[in-house]
């Protein structure tokens, strides 16, 4: 079969939030983009996420990740309003700050120590994370229970309606002429004469540049273009309640009330291989903590729960890489695709549009891992 060229400048493997954010940003730069996506039953981290735009706690151990996260948080407001203006889809982005709450004093103190260490390293750009005592918490979170010992607040944190964000990204891409091809699982990538040929379950595609944004699938695809993506699945389980009148005005890192009123409860972390199921043990634990934090939730009905797989690197930080063996191939992977969506669309995509991954992305190279050879 002759390659479907579709006259694309760039192919993106992966149509999740990362892939679609990049597609949108590349289309804004006037590039002709084709997104190759898998199917409804593929793992799809984007369907299981918590919808946070989250700054606090990011980058402990890698200050440039904290700076990259803050850059994205600063771009999010205009990213959201551009998407809404272009598509007419309201994505309910709120950025009035967010909280990490603690039920155990030692954990709160450990969290503060890690954050203070990070803020010392960041110097003048230090993000404003405040330690909040009970009195301060009660003013902003009137429904908290007596077991909450304290928490931290960061005014850069926020959340979004991620279903509508995803819809808006798809619609904005469609309007800008991005070609979106579902059912196109990438099986092989070969390069020849400065061009990449991707064999997929929807036929072959060809372009001068390819971006791998396939989440867990990047592990399989990266070596095909001389790159390495050491990613592995980390399961998170989430509980969703019935829609309630608003009682919580700010997101927590582990609990948030959506714009439509449902409460999402999460933050479990397990190595469960590729199993996306839920377990009564974990759901019980999530529910018990949620009820200690907000006692009124004891009466709320649960309407569904799910498990999903985070795309995790060994240190939890993103990987951005450009292939030297196959110039024109790029790798993008992270587990905070919603938080980084703005930076991916408005900062990284313009770089990729110009065929480069600037030196400031060096720290995110996979060569930071001991087991990745220099030649990659």
């Amino acid at each position: 079969m002759a390659a479907i060229s579709e006259d694309s400048d760039i192919l993106i493997a992966g149509g999740g939030i990362v892939g679609m954010s990049l597609a949108y940003g590349l289309a804004r730069e006037g590039r002709r983009v084709t997104v190759l996506d898998e199917d409804d039953l593929s793992f799809r981290a984007s369907r299981g996420n918590f919808a946070l735009v989250w700054v606090q706690g990011k980058g402990v151990g890698m200050p440039c990740y904290a700076r990259w996260t803050m850059r994205s948080a600063a771009l999010w407001r205009s990213f959201a309003s551009d998407l809404e203006a272009e598509t007419g889809i309201a994505i309910a982005f709120e950025q009035r700050g967010g909280f990490s709450l603690y039920l155990q004093r030692q954990k709160l103190e450990a969290h503060m120590r890690a954050l203070t260490g990070l803020m010392d390293k960041l110097g003048p750009e230090a993000l404003a994370v405040e330690l909040m005592d009970r009195k301060a918490l009660e003013r902003m979170l009137p429904a908290i229970g007596p077991d909450v010992v304290g928490g931290t607040y960061c005014r850069l944190d926020g959340h979004v309606n991620v279903l509508r964000l995803f819809g808006a990204l798809h619609e904005a891409c469609r309007r800008r002429g991005v070609s979106y091809r579902p059912g196109a699982s990438v099986k092989a990538i070969t390069s020849k004469d400065g061009s990449f040929l991707l064999s997929t379950t929807a036929g072959p595609f060809e372009a001068e540049r390819v971006v791998l944004a396939a989440g867990l699938g990047n592990a399989r695809l990266a070596p095909m273009v001389g790159l390495a993506a050491n990613v592995s699945p980390q399961r998170g389980q989430i509980i969703v309640t019935e829609k309630l009148e608003r009682f919580l005005d700010y997101p927590l890192s582990t609990l948030r009330q959506t714009d439509e009123g449902g409460v999402m409860i999460g933050a479990s972390k397990e190595d469960a291989g590729f199993d996306i199921g839920t377990s009564v043990k974990v759901l019980n634990s999530l529910a018990a903590d949620a009820v200690r934090m907000f006692p009124l939730l004891a009466r709320a009905k649960v309407v569904r729960s799910w498990g999903a797989l985070r795309v995790m690197t060994a240190d939890g930080f993103p990987i951005y890489d450009a292939s030297t063996q196959a110039p024109g191939a790029f790798l993008v992977t992270c587990h905070s695709g919603v938080t980084l969506a703005a930076a991916h669309a408005l900062d990284l995509a313009p770089c990729l549009a110009n065929h480069v991954l600037p030196l400031r992305f060096q720290p995110f190279s996979p060569r930071r891992f001991a087991n990745v050879p220099e030649t990659v």
Binding site: A143, E242, K243, L244, E245, F247, E260, G261, P295, L296, L297, R299, A300, K301, V303
Partner: protein
């Protein structure tokens, strides 16, 4: 809209929105209300439009009613009991209000 297919005795008495409704042993609350001609069970939390049982098997949450003071009970999953009180018409649930009562 709905009628019973058999002549079973309606020996169970419910109070629905302040009015008595007769039901048969083994009815779900949903079946009893539908047989009594009640077609609005609750309101959708986002658009406030009227809702009635849709899936009949506990996954759509459109049959929510307050039973014996407990809100958001699924009528299609709850068997009738003599003396049960049912209140229909709830929209988005107000937990803060319930907690303060």
């Amino acid at each position: 809209m709905f009628r019973r297919l058999s002549d079973e005795a309606l020996t169970i008495s419910l109070m629905v929105d302040g009015s008595p409704v007769a039901a048969a042993r083994g009815d779900t609350v949903a079946a009893a209300l539908l047989a009594a001609g009640i077609t609005e069970f609750c309101r959708s939390p986002v658009s406030q439009s009227a809702r009635a049982p849709f899936c009949g098997m506990g996954v759509c949450f459109d049959c929510r009613v307050t039973i014996d003071g407990e809100a958001s009970r699924q009528a299609c999953l709850t068997p009738v009991r003599d003396g049960m009180t049912v209140v229909t018409g709830s929209g988005r649930r107000g937990l803060l209000l319930e907690a303060s009562r």
